[in-house]
Amino acid sequence: MSSTTETIEPPAGRKVSLKELDQAVIRFAGDSGDGMQLTGTQFTNTSAAFGNDVSTLPDYPAEIRAPAGSLPGVSGFQINFSSRDIRTPGDLPNVLVAMNPAALKVNLPDLEPGGLLIINEDAFDKGGLEKAGYEVSPLEDGSLSSYRTISIPLTSLTLNAVLQTGLNRKQAQRCKNFFALGVVYWIFDRPLEHTLKWIEAKFGKNAMLLEANRSALMAGYNYADTTEVFTTHYQVRKARLTPGRYRNLTGNEALALGAVAASVHSGRSLFYGSYPITPASEILHELSRYKRFGVKTFQAEDEIAAIAAALGASFAGDLGLTGTSGPGVALKSECIGLAVMTELPLVIINVQRGGPSTGLPTKTEQADLFQAVLGRNGECPVPVLAASSPSDCFWAIIESFRIALRYMTPVFCLSDGYIANGSEPWLIPSDRELPDLTPVYAQDPATFKPYAREEHTLARPWAIPGTPGLEHRIGGIEKHHLTGNVSYDPNNHDLMVRTRAEKVARIAQDIPPTEVLGDSRGGKVLLVGWGGTAGAITSAGEQMRAAGKSVSTVHLRYLNPLPNDLGEIMSRFEKVIVPEINLGQLRLLLRARFLVDVIGLNQVRGKPFTIREIIQKVEPYL
């Protein structure tokens, strides 16, 4: 992380060098009680408001109350901020803030060689070291010599700054995250205003807390400014972003906003049936706050009831939505089949996590693609879409609803733990830019047939209860191709199975052409990705092309049906490589569908790809 260096003369007369950087990656790590998520979020918002492009990755423990100071209790938050357009939270952090020995132990392996390491030395007492499994303090045994280590008595300095506000010791100690934040703000030459405003808004009613947090932040900043410990200031300039109004957005927030937008633009109330599950619960939390948009949230007794109620609501004319993670989808499968059979619009969100079974609830994975495409009894086609970044979740769910309503079908909208919790700046669209999703209902009893089909989309009509003269019965038993009455006729079943398949296949005619980044005419390597790996894959492609390599990338939004033009695009390249956080699920689908000898680039470590990992693995093919 460096480019130019100049020396400026600070007012104090101390020599501080100012380095300009394109980009920097910081990771805050501490105990889950240390407030690292908040600290990271503050740094993110400050940097975003400053004008950097930012991308974040929170990493929190699965156990809510892991013992304080223990390795499983470590919580981290990584931020990549840049003067360029970035797409990932960064590979290796350049700066690591470790609030205790456990945080150091867990995170040090990721710190880049020579990176800046800021340590809270107060936490490196006998007890803290023991809990982290250190026999000798790493501060003393020379094991940190390959990093620029700065150890600061963060806890005691915070106490000095804060105790006068009247908080007791225990409370005062808890402000140390803001002290650390103040230090890092100074190092990266960030303005304090944003966080000061936030403190004011948050604690405006409680003078003591307000003072305490403000004092801790200022004290940290002033400490870095006045002591001789830090000799370098870094500057990351504003990024050249598309002009407009921005906000920061996580994937789960984006899904909730997109669902509300779909409701407003379809004129139907949103019904969200859900059961709490990591990492999808935030969608339920978010949507439950949007009552003013007429959003009905239903926390059901289980995953099955959550989707069944959403399907019932959809039958009765609401916009049915259910959200969960892989284990929940397993429980919902039967009802997804019912939605396929009854041909009702319904969107199923799967925020994928590590599997199988309970797996790794707080870690990310892309291993539910087969489940989405294939995981039901019978010939049971369901369109599958995937979001590629936190803010893309907004567009992905709107598109999912468009397809659900236009084709009268359940639709999978896949996200993952990485983009669900990660955030990025989002150019806020205006209401007017969003597509019109107004559905067409059956109204006329004279012509109404429950399973008569629209010529192009093969969608059946949506006739909602309360409409006079359209009383009809639907259900999970095979039905007559026009009347919807129960039918066991072999030819009718064959027709219906084929029709349902054809209906979903036709969606491929209704999606934009596949975009190739790089050389669309062809070349040596084409990387084909899907879902939350977009940032790493796209950036890897860009970096390799910048180094003169023949690498292009394609990132798929539509996984079922696959885009019709994809086979032809792949045929223009010598090698097609599919990086996935699974053991090759998209690869198998591509091979089956297009008969292309696709190469897999797979790892399943509960973590997103780094750009470097992709480059290293792709290089041998060039």
């Binding site: 409370q171 808890r174 200022m218 972003l241 019904f271 009383e471």
Partner: protein, 515 residues
């Protein structure tokens, strides 16, 4: 009003035939389901609800074919899930009259969870559970209501499962309407169904239904006409519990246990239990559910009927209440959220908005906000004043206002003339900066600027930290102490209405001490 609360339809002229669908009924000849279908088709036209507002939802099983035979909206869903599907239907459109048709296997085995949760929410759905104590559709396995020892295809040596009692489950789940009837007692069944339909909230009705193929005569020993009067207890609200051909027998409470007594010599009707559907506690209803033949006559009728808040109403009210308080949702402002910033053409920040915490958001658990012990009121008067008094009470003087284009010279002159330490720089009525005596020292004096020509905007502090009238003294002092400001503008919205100096605060405190 109609029972569902929708518009009254006085001229509705519906009869049984309007509710008969064109589908051939496919139950086994002689099945009890026929009678239940006929009674439902008799009752629904009398409710004053238009046909298009009925929705029948079912699960899987013989009984669950029911919706196909009703000429209404119908949803034949999957095994056990009908209460959940119906909940979604009702919440999507509370004007609908929603019915769930289920069986003992569908409702109590695979769907037991949905049943109890639909009941405890008290959503306005009529659940009719056809209890034939057998799996009919899958051809004769024992069900959760089959008797202990029952020999079936899957229990050739007799069932070792204890049966579940549907009405006990309903009462334990806080059902607000609980009733039982029999397929062959058509008049009674009609009465019970109608009462269930007219009850606002969950209605749970168990119907003893004969499966003449796999469990024929399961209830015959007490429902057969010849002994029904002696072996069935018809419940009537407010009436003593009597039964028998000449009502010569009754139920009395002996301590907490019911017992059968003969009226006449030892007991009179006054000694008997009086049925009360609407008791505050469901104790009596529960006690009745425990009465089984042959020790007791089997109770039939409405066990319990009470009114409490209904779920779809609560949801609707909450949405209306929130919309009233927060205003109808505006998509643009939702998408913008609380914290935004604007990127201009060359990548500069035009404006940054930082909002308050959103309502209802969780605080992170580690934050001191959650760990503060109850505040003690500070004993020292200064401390109390600092923590509690608001900066508005200090009554600072109105600020000196300058516009950004004013020269430094003119600003300094006004500060000197009015003996004030700072100037508010205002454009279009909005505060854009502050210029203080310290700026004169640090930014002007040493730089040799042309005081006449240089506009104040080039040396002022833009977007200064400000105070609101309701900020505490502590907050103001903290700003001054920590950040080293001596002057802070007092704001009303975007307008500066005062200039608070260190002096003002000290003066206020000393005055209050003296008083």
């Amino acid at each position: 009003m109609t029972v569902d609360g929708s518009a009254p339809i006085t001229e509705l002229k519906l009869d049984r035939k309007d509710f008969v669908s064109d589908q051939e009924v496919r139950w086994c000849p002689g099945c009890g389901d026929y009678s239940i279908l006929a009674q439902v088709q008799k009752v629904v036209p009398t409710l004053g609800i238009p046909r298009e507002n009925f929705v029948f939802v079912s699960g899987i099983g013989c009984s669950s074919r029911f919706p196909y035979y009703m000429n209404t909206y119908g949803f034949h869903s999957i095994h056990g899930r009908a209460p959940a599907v119906a909940t979604g239907v009702k919440l999507a459109n509370p004007h609908l009259s929603v019915w769930v048709i289920t069986g003992d296997g569908d409702g109590l085995s695979i769907g037991g969870n949905h049943l109890i949760h639909a009941i405890r929410r008290n959503i306005d759905i009529n659940i009719i559970l056809f209890n034939n104590r057998i799996y009919g559709l899958t051809k004769g396995q024992y069900s959760p209501t089959s008797d202990f020892g029952k020999k079936t295809k899957s229990t050739p040596y007799g069932s070792i499962d204890q049966p579940i009692n549907p009405l006990c489950v309903a009462i334990a789940s806080e059902a607000t309407f609980v009733a039982r009837s029999i397929d062959i007692d058509t008049q009674h069944l009609t009465m019970v169904l109608e009462r269930a339909a007219r009850h606002k909230g969950i209605s749970f009705v168990e119907v003893y239904q004969n499966c003449n193929i796999f469990n024929d005569g399961a209830f015959a020993h007490f429902t057969d006409r010849q002994f029904r009067s002696d072996r069935v207890l018809y419940l009537e609200h407010g009436k003593p519990m009597t039964f028998g051909k000449d009502l010569q027998k009754g139920i009395r409470l002996n301590n907490l246990n019911p017992e059968v007594v003969e009226l006449g010599r030892d007991y009179s009707p006054e000694d008997l239990l009086v049925h009360d559907e609407a008791g505050a506690q469901p104790t009596l209803a529960y006690l009745l559910t425990r009465m089984h033949y042959p020790d007791f006559p089997v109770p039939m009728g409405v066990f319990r009927c009470v009114e409490t808040r209904e779920y779809s109403d609560l949801l609707t009210e909450q949405i209306e209440e929130v919309s009233r308080k927060e205003g109808k949702g505006n998509l643009d402002s939702l998408l913008a959220g609380d914290e935004t910033w604007v990127i201009e053409e060359e990548g500069a920040i035009l404006e940054s908005v930082s909002g308050r915490e959103r309502p209802g958001e969780d605080e992170e658990s580690y934050h001191p906000a959650n760990n503060l012990d109850a505040h003690e009121e500070p004993k020292c008067a200064i401390r109390r004043s600092v923590l509690n008094d608001r900066i508005g009470e200090v009554r600072p003087d109105p600020p000196i206002i300058a516009s950004p284009a004013d020269s430094i010279q003119s600003a300094i002159e006004r500060m000197a003339r009015e003996r004030r330490g700072a100037v508010c720089v205002v454009e279009n009525d909005e505060l854009v900066g502050i210029f203080t005596e310290r700026d004169v020292l640090m930014r002007v004096a040493l730089k040799g600027l042309d005081l006449e020509k240089t506009p104040i905007s080039s040396v002022m502090t833009s977007n200064p930290i400000t105070l609101k009238a309701d900020a505490t003294l502590a907050y103001a002092l903290n700003q001054m102490a920590v950040a080293g400001f001596r002057h802070l503008p007092l704001m009303d919205g975007k307008k500066a209405v005062g200039m608070v100096s260190v002096k003002d605060v000290v003066r206020y405190m000393s005055e209050n001490m003296a008083g």
